[in-house]
């Protein structure tokens, strides 16, 4: 009987032995090891290589010789950040607790800010109600226009509070949704607002995901629908005011709003950032975030580099001097006509 027991237990103990040996991925501060790990994570997961025509192998060849085993964390971080900047993606961030955060902001270059908080505070926000630090709402132009400033989709507005806000606009001729300098946040929050401006389920875009480690391994586009809220719906004219700093979830919000028939996008081109990001890590504990799933617009086109407004308007110095916001004034003019 002892022999039988031994026969039975041997495979189990062998499994125990084999599985107990899987500890190859240990803490490692080697610059070479971390550089290789970063390059591989991006190589296997990043989703815009083809769209941006980025040759990741060539980039490896350019940056790899700069890696030295004796280099400081700061120097390693700088080289890695420079390599990641080649992707031209604000969703690609390297985070180190002892060095800092890398963030590509080249997408802002060459675009006007189209946003002056002093003018807004003096003229448009002075009588507004603050829902919280970054959401303000108000009726302007003799209560004819409803105005909401939503500064970050990291903050949510409760459905019942949205009902209250929209009910105060019930006699207005139109609404302005100002999302300038809104760098994104949660799509759940942006969808909650967008779902107030339609009365039937509407196709608003598509999403794809990586199906393997190859640069071209993608799923078929999967449709994304926006469904109407069960709360207060606003089907009269809406103008969404944008600038280049509308990024990520805000870019997604603009992409969806642009589909809706009562909505006009006014201002500047948005910043983009249409890749849904994932996070991973390096052997030294640094964190790396990168785009993995491209979200396409309703025409199955990328919006990674931004969305053109329907009406392009820039903030003028003359208006700033008069404490006027050119974009809001133009939106008011359109809504009242």
């Amino acid at each position: 009987m002892t022999r039988y027991i031994a026969y039975i237990m041997c495979p189990a103990l062998l499994c125990l032995y084999l599985t107990g040996c899987d500890f190859e991925d240990e803490y490692n501060v080697s610059p070479r090891r971390n550089f290789e790990s970063l390059w591989k994570i991006i190589d296997e997961n990043y989703c815009f290589f083809e769209y941006k025509n980025v040759n990741w192998d060539n980039i490896y060849s350019r940056y790899s010789p700069e890696i030295e085993e004796q280099m400081s964390d700061y120097d390693l971080f700088r080289i890695m950040s420079d390599m990641l900047d080649e992707l031209q993606d604000g969703h690609v961030n390297l985070l180190s607790s002892n060095v800092g955060i890398s963030s590509y902001d080249g997408w802002l270059n060459g675009y006007p800010s189209n946003f002056n908080t002093e003018v807004l505070r003096n003229t448009y926000w002075s009588r507004s109600q603050n829902y919280n630090d970054i959401v303000k709402h108000n009726r302007i132009v003799d209560n004819q226009i409803g105005y909401i400033y939503y500064g970050s989709f990291k903050e949510s507005i409760l459905e019942k509070d949205l009902d209250n806000i929209f009910s105060t606009f019930s006699y207005c001729k139109g609404i302005i949704i100002d999302v300038r300098d809104n760098g994104g946040g949660s799509i759940t929050n942006s969808d909650r607002l967008a779902s107030r401006f339609l009365n039937e389920k509407t196709l608003c875009g598509y999403i794809r995901h990586k199906t393997g480690k190859g640069h071209d391994d993608f799923s078929d586009p999967y449709p994304i629908y926006l469904t109407p809220s069960h709360g207060y719906l606003w089907l009269k004219p809406v103008i969404v005011i944008t600038n280049r700093k509308c990024y990520s979830a805000t870019n997604n919000f603009v992409s969806k709003m642009k589909v809706l028939p009562s909505v006009t996008i006014l201002g500047g081109r948005t910043g983009g950032g249409s890749g849904f990001p994932f996070t991973s890590e390096l052997p030294n504990g640094w964190s790396i975030r990168f785009s993995t799933s491209p979200i396409l617009d309703v025409d199955k086109q990328h919006t990674e580099f931004g969305i053109e407004p329907d009406i392009e308007v820039d903030l003028t110095d003359e208006d700033i001097k008069e404490n006027k916001d050119t974009l809001i004034e133009e939106a008011v003019r359109i809504l009242l006509n």
Binding site: I8, M9, T19, E26, E281, N284, T292, S293
Partner: protein, 283 residues
């Protein structure tokens, strides 16, 4: 004459049968129930969350019930195990945590083969249902990896009763090895946003077997009667490996278990009305 012999044989058969039934009634089948707490180490790797091993501790509570069943004249027994497992592990750099919570249930039927009076081999099939998740404290948009498995497997137990200085002990070694089933298996780069907000749940359930999953549990216990109680000490080793859609997962735990065991007779339903067999404080 033939009719008389036939009548006697028939009656004998009926008597024997009824005697057997009475015998079954006289020896009620008891339930062996153990409840144990476990503490130990945990090693988790899930490449959906991180390419690295996370190491830490795990705690579990386990309840197991075993009983012979009426079919097969006591040659079969049924075992049910419910196990709740929580883990806290850290990455190699020790600046990020993974928290895991799993609940699993298994139902096994064993055929019992005695070897002498002290050794029993129990071999059979089991169904196993497991659900849980691993939560990474740093990942923003991919913080969670959910696990849902339903399997069929083989289960085997060896029970060995022995005495140490007139003190009776019962040793048990048990192993469970799933060989096929279904599990939640999201595609390589899909986000939970796409699956659960946008509803793209196609291809998230996959067939599993040894080609993409290997899981085994090894369970070693000793029962030590102490006065009116029976102490159960044990070691539970759980191994879980899966590799689908270029996502690798492993969960390895070693737990030292301690708990108590009781052997009792279930007298629910109509059986509770048989007052001659039990001195009930209620019925």
């Amino acid at each position: 004459m033939g009719k008389i012999i036939a009548f006697i044989l028939l009656n004998l058969c009926m008597v024997c049968q009824s005697a057997g039934q009475e015998n079954d009634e006289e020896i009620p089948r008891s339930m062996n129930e153990g409840t144990l707490l476990g503490f130990g180490t945990s090693n988790i790797k899930d490449t959906y969350l991180s390419p690295f091993n996370y190491n830490g501790w795990g705690a579990r509570i386990l309840n197991e019930r075993m009983k012979t069943i009426s079919a097969g004249k006591g040659r079969y027994s049924r075992q049910q195990i419910i196990n709740v497992d929580i883990t806290s592990t850290r990455n190699p750099a020790e600046n990020v945590n993974d928290f895991g919570t799993f609940i699993d249930y298994s139902l096994s039927y064993h055929y019992r083969i005695p070897f002498g009076s002290s050794i029993k081999l129990l071999a059979g099939l089991s169904t196993h249902l497991m659900g849980g998740f691993i939560y990474n404290t740093r990942n923003g948009n991919n913080p969670l990896s959910a696990k849902v498995d339903i399997d069929l497997g083989i289960s085997m137990i060896i029970l060995y009763g022995l005495k140490v200085k007139d003190h009776p002990l019962t040793l048990r070694y048990q192993t469970e090895l799933p060989f096929g089933g279904l599990f939640f298996s999201p595609p390589y780069g899909i986000s939970y946003y796409e699956m659960f907000n946008e509803g793209n749940t196609s291809d998230v359930i996959a067939f599993n077997s040894f080609h993409n999953k290997f899981a085994v549990k090894n369970y070693l216990t000793v029962d030590i009667p102490i006065r009116h109680f029976t102490l159960r000490l044990g070691y539970l080793n759980s191994l879980y490996y899966s590799e689908t859609n270029d996502i690798n997962t492993h969960m390895i735990s070693h737990s030292f278990m301690i708990g108590w065991v009781k052997e009792f007779i279930v007298l629910g339903g109509k059986r509770s009305n048989n007052k001659s067999r039990v001195n009930s404080s209620y019925y």
